[in-house]
């Protein structure tokens, strides 16, 4: 029982790191980037290539995936995304669906359609006995990394100068600009960091999530559920939503496998019915 709970938490933490970039672009910049999963996929595939083809250590792959996806995100943000900030939500959705299609086909072209398997380093394999539950070392590692990331993010947003500037830019972009804050630059950096986090999540998750070209479509739905359940105005909302979702999904699949994805979809719709106003307050009021 504890093992299932633990797996759920690990899955949830992973979801959070994957989705948090989307929270930022969606909630803070009011941009619907359905293609967020494509960055996660890029991170995952980079890890696979580095690890399996070049024999780079898994621990080095993680920062590499972060940096790679952050740069990728920054380039795309400057060249393409920036044109869509002031367009309608529908245009943004179509645009990101186009990106998803292109990324799926590109990955398919270079890597093939089959699922990719990574060989985790021996130090991350095996299980530990912990409080009477058997715990996978890899999942413990995931929880630790994701936990550190969450704390760092929360700190950066709440305590640093960049964080306060970002919050100012989000609350009222025009006034922030008037006060001499370079809003465009802040958004670009934020987008890059969000993409980088997705890449890191993708790299971390190669052992838990299944990595094949339709990854962005499959996990897009999960990300959206995290966002819709947790809201986009805070970091903590999506965090708890991810944990809840992870635990619900894992326990649901364990105890009632015949229901499959029902659990999480039902949670999503139930939350949307019960708290429709609380979810996208910021999106609706702007």
């Amino acid at each position: 029982m504890l093992t299932i709970l633990f797996d759920g938490v690990a899955y949830g933490m992973l979801l959070f790191v994957l989705a948090v970039g989307l929270c930022v672009t969606l909630g803070l910049m009011n941009f619907i980037n359905l293609a967020h999963g494509a960055f996660a996929m890029a991170g995952g595939y980079l890890t696979v290539v580095l690890l399996n083809k070049f024999g780079v250590s898994f621990y080095l792959c993680l920062p590499a995936a972060f940096v790679f996806c952050a740069i990728l995100g920054a380039v795309l943000e400057r060249t393409l995304y920036v044109r869509l900030y002031d367009k309608s939500h529908l245009d943004q959705v179509l645009f990101s669906i186009a990106i998803i299609f292109m990324s799926i086909a590109t990955v398919d072209y270079f890597m093939g359609a089959s699922q990719q398997i990574v060989n985790l380093p021996p130090s991350l394999q095996g299980r530990l006995e912990f409080l009477g539950a058997s715990v996978g070392v890899y999942r413990l590692f995931v929880i630790i990394i994701c936990g550190l990331m969450t704390i760092a993010l929360q700190y950066a947003l709440a305590r640093t100068r960049f964080g306060s500037r970002l919050r100012a830019a989000v609350d009222d972009g025009r006034v922030a600009r008037g006060m001499g804050i370079d809003v465009t630059k802040i958004f670009a950096i934020t987008f890059a960091v969000g993409s980088g986090l997705a890449g890191l999540g993708g790299a971390l998750g190669t052992g838990i999530l299944s990595l094949y070209p339709t990854f962005p479509l499959k996990y897009m739905i999960l990300f959206l559920i995290v966002i819709s359940v947790g809201g986009t105005t805070t970091i903590t909302g999506p965090f708890f939503a991810s944990i809840l979702l992870g635990v619900a999904d894992v326990t649901g699949k364990y105890f009632l496998p015949s229901f499959g994805g029902f659990f999480i979809y039902t949670i999503m719709v139930a939350v949307l019915i019960l708290r429709p106003q609380g979810l996208f307050v910021r999106g609706a009021s702007r």
Binding site: L90, M102, G261
Partner: protein, 346 residues
């Protein structure tokens, strides 16, 4: 004071005249409905593909009603499509190919009814919140339908699909043949009738009020329009249209599977509409043709990677072209023949 009183009836008459003028058939509309049936003779070997295009066009039309005219962003029309498909398929299956229960038109009516009820019930969820919430709720609902179809094996056959769908002959006379002749004519007839209905809806005062709501919901509310009731109505109608489209697909392919509900169905239909141009009624139909033909050609050149080119075209459309193919045509026409009045419709 008196000037207003004298003018008021005149205004009413003008409004009626302008409504009637907007509803007049134009030469290109007539040409369109001559060209499409003539494809039966021009491309007799491609009838299966053509029926599929017609059905996709109908699905895109249903999204056009909801999105292009009323401005409700939806990613879940595939859910209603799938409900309709399963409803019609099950009717045909239970009737085992004999008249009363397996009658295709009855099947379509049931499909429309089931999808319409689902649309009506879910419309209240969809009305809440912003574009974003709507996208999510519609997507979530379609996913639930998808998952239900997958899991209710005893009813739907699960992921293997529903076999043994045998619709009775259309109107008791024309049986579905291998070459898709009857299927094409049947789909075309249904599409045409529903198109007329959709056209009537959008040209009516009701349709105009929807466009007003799309333009500015707050203002529409303040001049006394029952905004929510109107949106519920059009969403339900859109769901029924999508249900009929699904029913048509199930009947003409004699099959129903969770693939008909899947996310890509909703996304494709939305893309088709955007390709063609939203808010013109014809956008979905033309978009469906262009989309399927393009898909056919591209997947012949690069069997696996045509999605890349699809994505690229879509990207270009979003970035550089407003309003899809029809929007492009209209912009070209306006450039060379500047419109004499503002009412140069579609």
């Amino acid at each position: 004071m008196s000037a207003v009183d004298v003018k008021a009836p005149a205004n009413g008459a003008t409004a009626r005249l302008s409504l009637l003028a907007g509803a007049r058939w134009r030469w290109y509309e007539i040409a369109f409905w001559i060209v499409v049936p003539s494809l039966y003779f021009l491309a007799p070997t491609k009838l299966t593909l053509l029926s599929e295009i017609l059905i996709l066009g109908l699905l895109a039309l249903s999204i056009d009603l909801v999105l292009g005219f009323a401005g409700i962003v939806t990613l879940g029309q595939g859910g209603f499509f799938g409900l309709g498909a399963y409803a019609a398929a099950l009717m045909a299956k239970w009737g085992a190919g004999t008249a009363p229960l397996s009658d295709p038109l009855l099947g379509l009516a049931v499909a429309a009814g089931v999808a319409g009820i689902a649309g009506f019930l879910t419309s209240f969820l969809v009305l809440r919140g912003s574009d974003l919430t709507r996208l999510m709720v519609t997507l979530g609902l379609a996913l639930i339908v998808d998952e239900t179809a997958n899991k209710m094996k005893w009813l739907t056959g699960g992921s293997d699909g529903l076999q043994g769908v045998l619709p009775a002959p259309v109107l008791g006379v024309w049986d579905f043949d291998l070459y898709g002749r009857v299927a094409f004519c049947y789909a075309l007839a249904v599409l045409f009738v529903l198109f007329l209905v959709a056209r009537q809806i959008t040209k009516s005062p009701f349709g105009l009020s929807l466009q007003a709501i799309k333009g500015n919901p707050l203002r529409a509310r303040t001049i006394g329009m029952p905004v929510n009731a109107r949106l519920v109505a059009i969403y339900t109608i859109g769901a029924m249209f999508a249900g009929v489209a699904g029913g048509l697909l199930a009947q003409t392919t004699q099959f129903a599977s969770p693939d008909m509900v899947a996310f890509h169905r909703s996304a494709d239909a939305l893309l088709i509409l955007i390709f063609g141009g939203a808010g013109y009624l014809y956008g979905g139909l033309i978009g469906a043709g262009v989309f399927r033909v393009m898909q056919d050609i591209l997947s012949n050149i690069t069997p696996q990677y045509w999605q890349f080119w699809l994505g690229l075209v879509l990207l270009m459309l979003v970035l550089f072209v407003r309003g899809g193919i029809l929007g492009l045509l209209r912009a070209t026409r306006d450039r060379f023949f500047p419109p004499s009045s503002d009412k140069a419709a579609p």
